[in-house]
Subunit: 357 residues, 2 copies
DNA sequence: ATGAAAGCGCTAACAG
DNA sequence: CTGTTAGCGCTTTCAT
């Protein structure tokens, strides 16, 4: 330490000599010391009072809060964060390889619930969609002090996430637990979900069930595994021609359905790995004059609100996004307070509606 | 060299000693001065180099950037923001009187596009849902330096928004332009939208068209006005019994449809003020064994992605959320750089599908 | 083209 | 219980 400022000189270089007449009027933003002056205390006391420090008697605390309120004072976040060395901001990152804006209602709904869970916790939510350089971007968000931790939606970059975990980035991911997963994960029981959906169709008499959707990422893989498990249990062998591993975009779904028909593949049911996919598939079937459920039964996955209101109403596997959001926020808070990584698997439940009977 | 610090003289109690021993060891986050040291320059130069200041020769700039990168250094946002007195964060506020989490796909979709538009602009997005005390909350977000400006979705608190505008909060609102609106608004041409939807139904032979949805907030009011305008043009008088001003929740819609039937009101078409409402209405009609479009034609509003994939596919009014998002971000940037408030009205276009023919 | 110095507004030791 | 004091890590005049 060297020449720290000339001590006693509390008088700062006066930038604006005479106090503007109407102090309240306009320009210089009001700050803590102004409140302190008005309350006849020091800035430290105001700081303590405003943050609810119990060492300040309640009466004083209220009085200061009142004065601060009447002056329209708000604590400056940047300054407080800088001083405390921490933010109350959580980054929510949608990590999908898609170049399209986020549009799946399931993801969007999850974000909505996360926003609420975070707010209820006194946190703010910084929302970003990342498609390039996930590693650097996520790193930076935290180590620049922009936010204290990350809630990641999507496991497209599974290995990057593992690396970030090792690098000590506080983070919770929505997705599926894999054998080599080192980070905290919150997700539905996708294996059970796939199994339930498929068993339900088999139980209803279906013999040739199409699997429609992604199966390159962890969640899809497990849903597919559940599908295979159910088939085996019914003594059926998975048939390659029934597996349509495609993205869930409208065109890909239509193309897949079209292909099935062109190739003249016989099928009496479809298990789609998402409701959006299922609804699009029904739409495509209809345009080929195939009726759901009389000719082909369909089961989706997610239970988005819309699934109860399409025609026919969609049988699906429910994912509880409210629980999911709460769990993610809770796990992240645990990490932020130093606990070890922990994961949560939420139940997957079959919701029977008309598309499958 | 004026008063260099009196090293030996002013022995002020140097309490640096209480510092944790292993300062350099591992934890202490790397900062600008470390980069400076390694590069053999001052922190000021690093700051300038990293922010692309042209007074630093390009070669030096690159060298410093390289070193910073290799050390994993990131500029601390809190410190930079505090020093500069501004953030690069924009608050996105969903201001709805609803206590439910955000769930309308239209709103959620708009948020997705806003996220992208903001990111493209180098801004971060702070997402909040506000249902109580909007005035204080929005005020605080900006005046605490948490964010520099606001993008507000929803006009439920129209007067509060007017007040905030007057208070000088930089803000752009998604909604409708009203005569007494003082703030910047971006929105579709709701009057035209309502008019197009209704004319389309009338042109198709409908005589008794139900208006279904909110009409207490500005956008709904205008859609309703468009509906009335079209009716008048066709020489029809608005019939009170056909106006069902309700929220768009599933139960309210079902109840409204139920009431229409119970009251034995004759109707041959429905104009719903949102796609979600329209889809729910179709679902309710179906459960009463009324077919769409053969018995009742339906037109929605929004053109959410799902509307093209429900059965029957839904005729609707398109709202361009991509343009909307871009416009909102652009207008806000204008305000932030001191321009006056300006509003944008986006075209509303009829999308004809099967629910109305 | 670069460095020294001065804070941005707040919080937390550390005494009283 | 409350005030004094010393920075948090950065950007930016100002002066070379």
């Amino acid at each position: 330490m060297k020449k720290t400022a000339l001590q006693g000189k509390t008088t700062k270089p006066i930038k604006k000599s005479s106090q503007p007449l109407a102090a309240e009027s306009s320009n210089s933003r009001i700050q803590m010391v102004d409140v302190a002056r008005k309350a006849g205390v020091s800035a430290a006391t105001v700081s303590r009072a405003l943050s609810g420090n119990p060492s300040i008697p309640e009466s004083t605390r209220n009085r200061i809060a009142e004065i601060a309120g009447s002056m329209g004072y708000r604590v400056n976040h940047s300054a407080a964060n800088l001083r405390r060395g921490q933010t109350n901001v959580i980054g929510v990152v949608v990590l999908i390889s898609d170049t399209q804006p986020i549009s799946d209602p399931f993801i969007l709904g999850l974000i909505g619930y996360i926003a609420d869970a975070l707010n209820a916790n006194g946190n703010s939510m910084l929302l970003t969609r990342v498609s390039t350089e996930p590693r650097a971007t996520l790193q930076t968000m935290v180590s620049s002090g922009q936010c204290s931790g990350l809630l990641v939606i999507g496991q497209t970059y599974h290995q990057v996430l593992n690396e970030l975990e090792i690098a000590g980035i506080p983070m919770v991911v929505w997705g599926a637990q894999l054998p080599d997963t080192r980070y905290s994960v919150v997700g539905s029981n996708n294996l059970t979900g796939g199994y339930l959906a498929t068993s339900h169709l088999l139980g209803g008499g279906a013999k040739r069930i199409v699997y429609l959707g992604e199966s390159t990422f962890p969640e899809g893989k497990l849903r597919y595994a559940g599908y295979v498990k159910a088939l085996k249990q019914y003594g059926l062998k998975p048939d390659k021609s029934l597996h349509r591993h495609c993205l869930l975009s409208a065109t890909e779904i239509e193309e897949s359905i079209h292909q099935l028909l062109v190739e003249d593949v016989a099928f009496d049911a479809i298990f789609a790995a998402s409701d959006v996919g299922a609804i699009r598939a029904i739409s495509a079937l209809n345009s080929h004059n195939i009726k759901v459920p009389s000719q082909v039964k369909v089961v989706g996955f997610d239970n988005i609100p819309m699934s109860a209101h399409v025609q026919p109403t969609l049988t699906t596997i429910n994912q509880s996004i409210d629980l999911a959001a709460t769990a993610m926020v809770e796990l992240l808070n645990e990490k932020l307070t130093g606990a070890a990584s922990r994961s949560v698997v939420l139940p997957a439940v079959l919701i029977e509606r008309k598309s499958s009977r």
